[in-house]
């Protein structure tokens, strides 16, 4: 993702960046699935990997997610949600299906062995939230993703960030303001797609 002109309002900037892809994807334009994959596959794969704890299964789920997204694109409405959020919704359902299938298999085995089924807590929801947030930060692109990581994750002061990145203090602050607005926009879209 390239650094865009700072004077463009952030919501519009963000909206437009995904909008081109959203409409292209809905229209089935050549290359749009690949672009969507490039922009979101780390998020989807990480979600699957953390939920399933198994690389091969996570790869399967990732593949199924994008194939389902492409086949189901007629049901996708770019006016309602970014394709990015939509594909994450599909990923979550695919992951839930994989977990459910695993649960069925385990219960079948346990029934055979006459072992009481374990009650499973859901540590997964909080982890998924953390992954989605991280992905939103990454999608800000440099230098904003770096500035946000330094400020919000590592608690650096604006002055420290300015010194470290050799950037005027005002620029750092401006990036943080715009990043905050973009993150709100992106996270709201992610929530809406759940």
């Amino acid at each position: 993702m390239s650094v865009r002109t700072a004077m463009v309002a952030v919501a519009t900037e963000r909206g437009d960046a995904s909008d081109g892809l959203d409409h292209a994807f809905a229209a089935g334009v050549d290359g749009s699935l690949e672009r969507l994959y490039r922009e979101t596959s780390s998020l989807v794969f990480t979600l699957a990997l953390r939920a399933l704890g198994d690389r091969a299964e996570a790869e399967d789920v990732t593949q199924q997610t994008y194939v389902a997204a492409w086949r189901g694109r007629a049901g996708y409405d770019p006016e309602r949600a970014p394709a990015r959020a939509w594909v994450v919704g599909i990923a979550r359902r695919t992951i839930a299906d994989a977990l459910a299938a695993r649960g069925r298999e385990r219960r079948r085995l346990e029934a055979v062995r006459d072992v009481p089924a374990a009650v499973e807590p859901d540590p997964w929801a909080g982890e998924a939230e953390r992954i989605v947030v991280r992905s939103e930060v990454e999608s800000l692109g440099p230098p904003r993703s770096t500035i946000v990581a330094l400020a919000f994750f590592e608690g650096r002061t604006h002055e420290q960030i300015a010194a470290e990145l050799k950037m005027p203090l005002g620029t750092v602050k401006s990036h943080l303001r715009r990043s905050l607005l973009a993150l709100r926009h992106g996270l709201e879209a992610a929530d809406a797609a759940l």
Binding site: A26, A27, T62, I131, R134
Partner: protein, 242 residues
């Protein structure tokens, strides 16, 4: 009372108001205060991303996806954006910031035209006058309503020049002049051939442009703003077929 703009709200949420007046306003204005509150919640939430490593899938995953969908891609695409949706997009467009969005909307619209209207109306035309040869023709569709909006055809004159002849319903009430364009199938390259001033217009196609490479006929509303590029506000479109 003027509300704070987004950047002022973000500045307040980050603890550094851009001006004292902003801070005072947000302290007393319910609407701005709740926006600041939402941005502070985002700020807190953003902290959750700390320590998370995103893992990229191996290349074989994409290869698998491509393989799985390759077969069905041979079928014609049926899932294009409805024209009404493309229309909605244009109405919300931001001036000076529209080109990319328009391209995609247009690509979608062309898909619809090719898939539906264009094929259905293939038999039209063929009434080239004055001995000129009709080399291509298109049914035009109103992008808002998908209704029939006349025809366009390309006539080749005896001297070899090609002329785009447009017969459509001219609506002078549109907020701007109506400009006629030829656009390539990728909706990236385009050339203006002139302005439509009545129900019938004839436009010589500039040398070097041919309808095989620029088959999309597009009529746009162009505000009198001195900007020579396409406004993104297309009202009528069709695809020339030879």
């Amino acid at each position: 009372m003027q509300h704070c703009d987004d950047e002022s709200l973000a500045a307040i949420a980050l603890g550094e108001p851009l001006s004292a007046a902003d801070g005072e306003h947000a302290a007393t204005c319910e609407r701005c205060a709740s926006e600041v509150e939402a941005l502070r919640a985002t700020l807190t939430r953003a902290g959750l991303g700390a320590g998370v490593e995103l893992v990229a899938p191996p290349a074989r995953v994409w290869a698998g996806i491509e393989g799985e969908i390759a077969a069905e891609d041979d079928a014609p695409a049926g899932a294009v954006v409805p024209l009404t949706r493309a229309r909605g997009r244009r109405e919300r467009r931001v001036p000076g910031h529209t080109f990319r969005g328009w391209v995609v909307g247009a690509a979608a619209a062309v898909g619809v035209v090719i898939g539906g209207v264009g094929v259905a109306l293939l038999g039209l035309g063929g009434d080239g006058s004055g001995g000129d040869t009709v080399v291509a023709q298109a049914a035009l569709a109103d992008l808002a309503t998908e209704a029939d909006a006349g025809t366009a055809r390309v006539e080749q004159r005896a001297d070899g020049t090609e002329v785009l002849v447009v017969d459509t319903v001219y609506d002078a009430s549109a907020d701007g002049a109506l400009e006629v364009w030829l656009i390539d199938p990728d909706v990236i390259g385009m050339v203006s051939v002139g302005f439509l001033t009545g129900d019938h217009g004839e436009f010589e196609i500039p040398a070097g442009y041919d309808v095989a490479s620029f088959p999309i006929v597009d009529i746009s509303v162009e505000p009198a703003d001195g900007d020579p590029t396409h406004s993104g506000d297309s009202i009528t479109r069709g695809v020339l077929e030879t």
